[in-house]
Assembly symmetry: C2
Homo-oligomer: 666 residues x 2
């Protein structure tokens, strides 16, 4: 019989899994000042089998935390997508070049970078903002999950209804076998061709003396991957089917090749040897996705992974890319996977346990979506958990997580289903070749999928957090999301035609009124856990408008519901449209828009102007946002930059602002 020490502790939020989803969640916890823990069964931080693509929306999110610049600096930038396929002679040639992402969407474009670096940015940020109190605890595995049913619906401050027993692994147990020595690392152990090892780890660990800990938590989030232990404890399923398509990955090699587009994002469809995709990376590295047409699933539906080696993969690549030569001397690691799309039945267990990332959606990696959608799941959930755990927001808002994100996962799976089939299909020989994939259809699908892939098309449905019209269940994944506030908030989408309710607040360049510095306005919507009340003040030099603005500000100052939350949970940003040089901060803007502090004076970072800059042109922000330059409007964004409310500065808008926040705050 073995001996196990058992200690006990409490924490507000327990995060299981320290991949990009878990780290994003921990980042929010650090920013919101939550007592959180994050554990991971692996001992080693950077291992292979990793994603590398960062889509536009992820970069905007990174920027809201303040570390997008690090990613942008270190990453390779993908600007062009090149398509190669057989000419009439059957030899591949470049048939098309198009921008990798559509023009004019954002200040960012798609970039690719080693996942280890991305995790480093998160870890540095978590360390800084949690005062080093949130650290990834590695080599720790969850063993049991149970609930105290009596207090499960009690979200008060001293209620810890969740119990998770943790087991501490030895360094040896926590180190994946493939990390133990070989030169070119085999990432198959993490691919969907391999079995999960969690149960085995627990079983083995139990055979000897060890240390366990019983953690009582308010909330628990499973960011524990496609084989999610948390999901299994809850009895939730991943629904969907694998395909017959097997792809190998050489990730990442320094290629030696005369293929002209090796530094472009490139799709090659060969006549009859399969397809490959080129993802050029930083430091001369390239990731190659290579279809293995000679490897087939067996009767059980799963491919025999013993048949897949780097030699098999590079030979397949050479056939596809012929007549160009392709070899390499350096390969960091390699893997293979079987294409399939699956989505979780539930993302949420009674607003107490949540699932995010690969635990609730798996698909093929070639569209660079996995890590991004996973991080965005956690980005959606984190601030809600933070505000509820601190007793600021109503627990009801937690229901919007499944409603909003499961819908995205469903869209993603549909997108990937279509895209991966077009990718793996043999190119059509001619217009009569019905079993082949038409290259014009492939291009069209790429262009159509482009906006989706950036993450910018996300459009959350109606709820107490998004005061839009229509049926909440229809607009989400079917979950019933109450709108709690008794009188329905009236929204005025017409006052800001390009600021779409439910979508992320777009960005245009504006000037800080006090120092004339140009900023992308979105960068002022920091992820600090606060809602933003964005006052489009209009033309403050017009007496009519000035009185409207004064009235609105007087309402803010005098509302007994809003006043206590101002600046603390609701930050105010002002954007006016008068000439900067004709307006003065003190004279023309009420104090609530740039509050005074006895120790540090006035706030100079809250009032902005839509005017010409000296060095970077005119942002034309009012035009871009679709807001009237005379009369303006007011917009509420959630702590994740999604638009929750739009109203006028008049009486109806003021009432709307108050109603909106009554639906959210306790």
């Amino acid at each position: 019989m073995t001996v196990t020490e058992l200690t006990e502790s409490t924490c507000d939020v327990l995060i299981i899994g320290a991949g990009p989803a878990g780290l994003m969640l921990a980042t929010w916890m650090a920013r919101c000042g939550i007592n959180a823990r994050i554990i991971d069964k692996r001992s080693t931080k950077i291992f292979c089998g990793q994603a590398d693509g960062l889509q536009i929306r992820s970069l905007e999110i990174f920027d809201s935390f303040g570390f997008a610049d690090r990613a942008v600096k270190e990453a390779n930038h993908l600007l062009e997508f090149c398509m190669w396929n057989p000419g009439s002679d059957g030899v591949i040639r470049r048939s098309d070049r198009i921008p990798d992402v559509m023009v004019g969407l954002s200040r960012f474009t798609e970039i690719v970078l080693h996942q280890g670096r991305i995790e480093r940015f998160f870890l540095d940020h978590i360390k800084k903002h949690s005062n080093d109190s949130i650290r990834v605890e590695r080599g720790v595995i969850p063993e049991t999950l149970s609930f105290n049913e009596e207090i499960l619906d009690d979200h008060s401050q001293d209620s810890y209804p969740i119990s998770v027993k943790l087991r501490y692994l030895t360094e040896e147990e926590a180190t994946p076998a493939q990390s133990k020595g070989s030169a070119t690392r085999d990432g198959l152990f993490r691919s969907n061709l391999a079995e999960d090892d969690t149960d085995e780890l627990i079983r083995k660990s139990k055979e000897k003396d060890g240390t366990s800990e019983l953690v009582r938590a308010k909330y628990d989030v499973g960011c524990d991957g496609a084989h999610s232990w948390t999901r299994k404890q809850l009895g939730f399923q991943l629904e969907g089917e694998p395909t017959d398509f097997i792809w190998g990955v050489l990730a990442d090699i320094i290629p030696i090749t005369d293929f002209p587009d090796i530094r472009m994002r490139t799709a090659v469809h060969s006549a009859s040897s399969g397809s490959l995709m080129v993802i050029p990376r930083e430091s001369k590295l390239v990731r190659l996705y290579i279809q293995l047409i000679e490897v087939k699933p067996d009767a059980s539906g799963r491919a025999d992974r013993s048949k897949i080696t780097p030699e098999v993969i590079i030979k397949a690549a050479q056939k596809i890319i012929a007549p160009y030569s392709l070899t390499y001397e350096y390969c960091d690691w390699w893997t293979a996977y079987q294409i399939g799309q699956r989505v979780g039945t539930n993302f949420d267990y009674r607003s107490r346990v949540f699932l995010a990332g690969d635990a609730v959606h798996t698909h093929s990696p070639k569209a660079g979506q996995g890590m991004n959608v996973s991080m965005q799941d956690a980005y959606n959930l984190g601030w809600k958990l933070g505000l509820v755990a601190k007793g600021i927001a109503k627990p009801d808002i937690l229901k919007t997580y499944q409603s909003e994100r499961r819908r995205i996962a469903q869209d993603l799976i549909d997108f990937d289903h279509k895209f991966s089939r077009l990718f793996s299909g043999r190119p059509a020989k001619d217009i009569l070749d019905e079993t082949g994939v038409s290259m014009s259809e492939f291009k069209e699908a790429f262009v159509k999928g482009n906006l989706f892939a950036t993450g910018l098309s996300v459009d959350y449905g109606a709820s107490m957090l998004v005061a839009k019209d229509g049926d909440a269940a229809d607009q989400g994944d079917g979950t019933k999301v109450s709108t709690t506030n008794p009188t329905k908030v009236v929204c005025r989408q017409d006052l800001a035609t390009n600021i779409r309710l439910g979508m992320r607040f777009p960005s245009f360049k504006v000037l800080n009124h006090a120092d004339a510095r140009p900023w992308h306005f979105q960068t002022k919507l920091k992820s600090d856990g606060r809602f933003r009340l964005i006052v489009f003040a209009g033309n403050v030099l017009s007496p009519v408008q000035k009185s409207r603005l004064d009235g609105f500000c007087k309402f803010l100052d005098s509302s007994s519901f809003i006043r206590p939350h101002l600046h603390k949970h609701i930050a105010i940003l002002t954007l006016h449209s008068s000439k900067r040089m004709e307006t003065e901060l003190q004279r023309d803007f009420p104090e609530v828009l740039h509050p005074f502090d006895a120790h540090t004076g006035w706030d100079y970072d809250s009032v902005f102007v839509d005017d010409e800059s000296y060095h970077e042109g005119h942002g034309e922000a009012y035009k871009g946002y679709g807001v009237d330059k005379e009369t303006g409007c007011v917009v509420i964004t959630r702590p994740d930059q999604y638009v929750g409310f739009i109203g006028s500065l008049d009486e109806d808008g003021r009432a709307g602002v108050e109603e909106y926040f009554k639906g959210v705050f306790v």
Copy 2:
């Protein structure tokens, strides 16, 4: 009698003083792989009495090392310069607003940041690039400097003609008195109102047991400030006179004020209470320079510093800025200085010992020049020392340091002399008031001085490093700089009308040919100790031009003088003007322009194109550089980005390239 241990050592370059000039020099040493040491008498890294302005050219230099982004991110940006002076009623009002730096000069503008952060960027960079082998040795003071005359002109690899005896201070000795405890730190101990303490430190240190070291060095650089010990050992002088103007500095405070332009760079001339200048900084800080008209120099010409306190300074400021209020609760430190301009008689002792920074030029701080010109001194010297110490370049090039930089120091002193008088003068009451300063004259001087202040107007004279016409002594500080190469290099300024010989290589946006990513072309001229051969390949799709380009590349490959230096000491950058989508790297560009490596394949970061980008417009680089899009040209830049040669791709240009490098390399 005291006991002193004496050890002995050698190093290639000994740097005395670890302020911005010393750190810049150490940065070059790290990048060039030189065995260098850097010492500083102070124990503490960040102390007060510090500069904060970073001019455009300094940022371009930081960018060439790769850390400009850190400064740009953390700093406050100065966009507008506001001028306040008395109206007809004698009350101050804003009379003008102009851009802080001229539009269109560079991708950077002026920024301000705590000097401690700037030093941190240097220290991180030095650590990384020297493999932690170059570290600032603090609390170390030089005691004696002597030479072995016999080998002073022998620049061979094993000749160490300089001996410097170093003494190690205790922590107590090395800590400035003002750092020992007080809340608001008094920076007067470093101001020009205070005596130097070096001799005193040496004397006291000798009174007790201690450790000394005898360092034999090839080169020694005194970056040891206005009281330079190194300068004194050499018997060189600073020439110039102090004025009667005394200014106080509150640096840095968080002001509490209703003055509207507290976040702008602002000059206030009051009717009769003196002037002040506002420099807004990061984190709500502001630096205020305040004229102290009631403090006067005594008979000896120096102000009594005991009369200057923070209270005296803020009261002076309040009088100047009235009727606006001005107070503060937080003040980091304060100091005062007496305006004067002085320049060193010599920057160089026999190409063995060099002086840089405040050691050879002092002036008033308000134009934000001191730290910048000091760093740029060291930036000019560092690569020359590096290449000579490694035996790659001829020792003669070291003479260009004094010729180039003493001339700049003279220009700086002239600029500051004029500017500081306009700043400290009482504003003229009207056009007949001849003793007052005319505000239109002040504005005009600011605009005229603007280009100079950015650091971009630097235009080095003729030498073996700058193949321009005219008299070398005339164009420099009078130093005779030989051009060593027997046949004078013929330069073709007409082939690149906006790439000026002797000036820094300007920047326009270009695209990487292999991946379509836009870059500011100047960012590809990294400070890695290499010259750049910039091939403006022109229209490579024209057969005539293609054959010209092929001929030029064949010359590079076949020149027995140039070939061994290619890629190692001379990096090649190509910019062509054909359409990107009609050209192919392998097909249209000879291998020497994108060399092949057996382990890592082709180079994809050397060939660029002047074409439309997807997201950032068309850089119009050929137009910007003033180069013919059909026929191109070739440009040589020095390792510091200054233009040394311009020629055609034809026979005469090829001969010129060869002659240029024969004048530089051993």
